[in-house]
């Protein structure tokens, strides 16, 4: 049986998710139900969307350090403008997406380090979020609330949403010609340029798409929490980067995997629940999360070595 290298790269993230899930079920059999699964994975939906956004940026060899503050900003807009005057809210989101495209263009044209530009932007988004919501508050739009708390038959909403996100982004990134070009920019932007494509346009589109998914993450988050706060999603910056890497993505070379990224986000979310089921003292929960991250990455290394050995035989 021959597996493509893409499939092999997915095995470890998927296996670690299954293993973690099995451990959770073993410790808490009651989690093995519709409600249980929904509770376990509910918060994964906005994280998965943010991870996809980060993955898009990483596919063109950049890194977005403003992801957390941008999702917080989007959550604040969703809980205020989008709820009270939807037209204005949508306009703000369009402006934000256009800003993302502009950042992509500026980074490319001036050949700037993306880390620093997005670092600066993280202050900007954070500042705007504080201006919109100086103190926690706001209300989620009814439809966002409905969407996130919907109870489809048989499979919980969180799972349906994750599969949907993975399928849609898999199509965009791996199957569509835009996705191929985008990953091409990450792999070798010169050849893409020489083949007659506009790297500038491709990067702008990639950034805009990332902005769009981050906006969705903000809306989904507010749909779950019902209110927002300027600091609500700060940890998403690091979570999204970790999710992409956990899912088999790489920092350079346009090697990304949307399905892996969603699985990575689910794994990170589940790790939190797993630790609370283990009754680990809250002091050590963050540390144990770091340890889980290390173990999964070590497993990946072991598998890569195995793969190489098989190839050389």
């Amino acid at each position: 049986m021959k597996l493509s290298s893409g499939t092999i790269r997915l095995i470890i993230p998927a296996a670690s998710l299954v293993l973690l899930l099995a451990a959770v079920f073993y410790m808490q059999p009651r989690a093995m139900s519709y409600t249980g699964l929904n509770l376990l994975f509910n918060l994964a939906v906005p994280i998965a969307l943010a991870t996809i956004a980060q993955m898009l940026i990483m596919s063109v060899n950049d890194l977005d350090l403003s992801m957390g503050t941008f999702v917080s900003f989007c959550a604040c807009v969703s809980a205020t403008f989008l709820q009270s005057s939807p037209a204005l809210g949508i306009l703000i989101f369009l402006g934000a997406i256009a800003t993302y495209a502009l950042i992509g263009v500026v980074i490319y044209v001036r050949d700037l380090p993306s880390i620093v530009v997005t670092l600066g932007m993280s202050f900007v988004w954070g500042g705007i979020a504080v201006l919109i919501l100086p103190s926690p508050g706001g209300t989620a739009p009814t439809w966002a609330r409905w969407l996130m708390t919907a109870k489809p038959p048989l499979v919980p909403m969180a799972i349906v949403a994750s599969i949907l996100i993975a399928a849609v982004t898999h199509y965009i990134v791996m199957r569509s010609s835009f996705g191929v070009l985008m990953r091409g920019v990450g792999g070798n932007d010169r050849s893409v340029e020489r083949a007659g494509w506009s790297v500038l346009g491709l990067r702008a589109a990639t950034y805009a798409l990332a902005g769009f998914f981050a906006v969705l993450a903000g809306i989904a988050l507010v749909g779950l929490t019902t209110s927002a706060d300027a600091n609500i999603a700060l940890r998403y910056t690091l979570l999204s980067i970790a999710g992409v890497i956990l899912g088999g993505g790489q920092f350079v070379g346009g090697k990304v995997s949307p399905i892996g990224a969603v699985i990575g986000a689910l794994t990170l979310t589940l790790a939190g629940s797993f630790l609370s089921f283990m009754r680990i003292s809250p002091d050590w929960q963050i540390g144990a999360q770091g340890a889980i991250l290390i173990v999964v990455l070590a497993l990946r290394l072991a598998l890569n070595r195995l793969e190489k050995r098989e190839k050389s035989q």
Partner: protein, 315 residues
């Protein structure tokens, strides 16, 4: 023409020019009354950014992808454990300092073991490490706020000839770092690795050893900074390092160190650290709210990097 060449050869001049502008604008607003106090506060707070910034700079010099995200956690753990160990006794000051250096060494080695042995990208390795370090800090802190020993606290908060002591410490560390970077073989090695790891390895440079030492150096500087900061602010707090994560990266880049690695400079870190503090205090004196202050800080960072980026394309 020669001015142009000077500006290209010494990128740190930009950050100092910006710093002086902001200082003048702020002092003008207050009618000159605050010039001494402002300068002292700027030197004090810039000193902490300088110490962590130098460590981060060495790591960034190693080339693309090298970055240390465990700086805030290291600062917190070192501050917490050192104060706990010293237990308000003056006699234990040196022991506390040595302990915090030891903590830095261990964390630095841990970081590099993860990077090397598990081949984890540095950004994720140091992130995982910082989670673990933060947990140890939470566990050992237990919400207690232990005061620093009397002598140490007064040393950290007082000044010599009008210059704050912490700024003097930062200055001494910067001079050592400058000698290391510009005059020692180690400095040549990290620049070579940053420019091309492959070529450096071919040239017989001990790449792994050099990288290990660099991550250790960064962690040690972060832990020394945590020790100083905890003594300065009268106790360690669990979130005391958090703002230094972005700060340490920002000062390095604004200071003119190439993010792609292989080219760094220390004076720029001073300029950038002073600049970052003065911008915030300028916006404060002009009475801006927290939101506007954040937005303007971000826009200024982007404006600086836009200007500085144009400089590189001149070459």
């Amino acid at each position: 023409m020669s001015l142009n060449r000077l500006l290209i050869a010494k990128p740190w001049i930009w950050s100092f020019a910006a710093t002086i502008t902001v200082w003048i604008v702020t002092v003008l607003f207050t009618g000159g009354a605050s010039s001494f106090g402002l300068s002292q506060a700027a030197l004090t707070f810039a000193a902490f950014s300088v110490v962590v910034g130098i460590g981060q700079m060495f790591v960034i010099t190693l080339g693309p992808g090298n970055i240390d995200l465990s700086v805030p956690a290291t600062m917190t753990l070192s501050g917490t454990l050192a104060l706990k160990l010293m237990d308000v006794q003056d006699g234990m000051i040196v022991v506390g300092l040595l302990a915090s250096i030891g903590i830095g060494l261990i964390i630095g080695i841990g970081n590099y073991v993860l990077i090397k042995a598990l081949r984890i990208p540095p950004i994720i390795a140091t992130l995982s490490m910082s989670f673990i370090v933060q947990s140890v800090a939470i566990w050992s802190n237990r919400g207690l706020r232990i005061k620093p020993p009397e002598t140490l606290a007064s040393f950290a908060t007082s000044s010599l000839f009008g210059i704050p002591n912490v700024a003097l410490v930062a200055l001494i560390l910067s001079i050592i770092a400058w000698v290391l970077l510009e005059k020692s073989i180690y400095g040549r090695w990290i620049s070579a690795i940053g420019q091309s790891t492959f070529a450096a390895r071919m040239a017989g440079i001990p790449v792994d050893g050099t990288r290990l030492v660099t991550y250790m150096l960064c962690a040690v500087l972060a832990s020394v900074c945590g020790y100083l900061l905890a003594s300065f602010s009268g106790g360690a707090a669990l979130n005391m390092g958090s703002e230094y994560l972005l700060m340490s990266i920002a000062v390095v880049v604004i200071g003119g160190t190439a993010v792609a690695g292989g080219n760094s400079n220390i004076p720029g870190i001073w300029g950038a650290s002073l600049f970052m503090f003065l911008v915030v205090s300028m916006l404060n004196t002009y009475g801006f709210g927290a939101g506007f202050r954040l937005i303007l800080t971000g826009l200024i960072i982007i404006a600086v990097i836009l200007l500085a980026g144009g400089r590189q394309s001149l070459r």
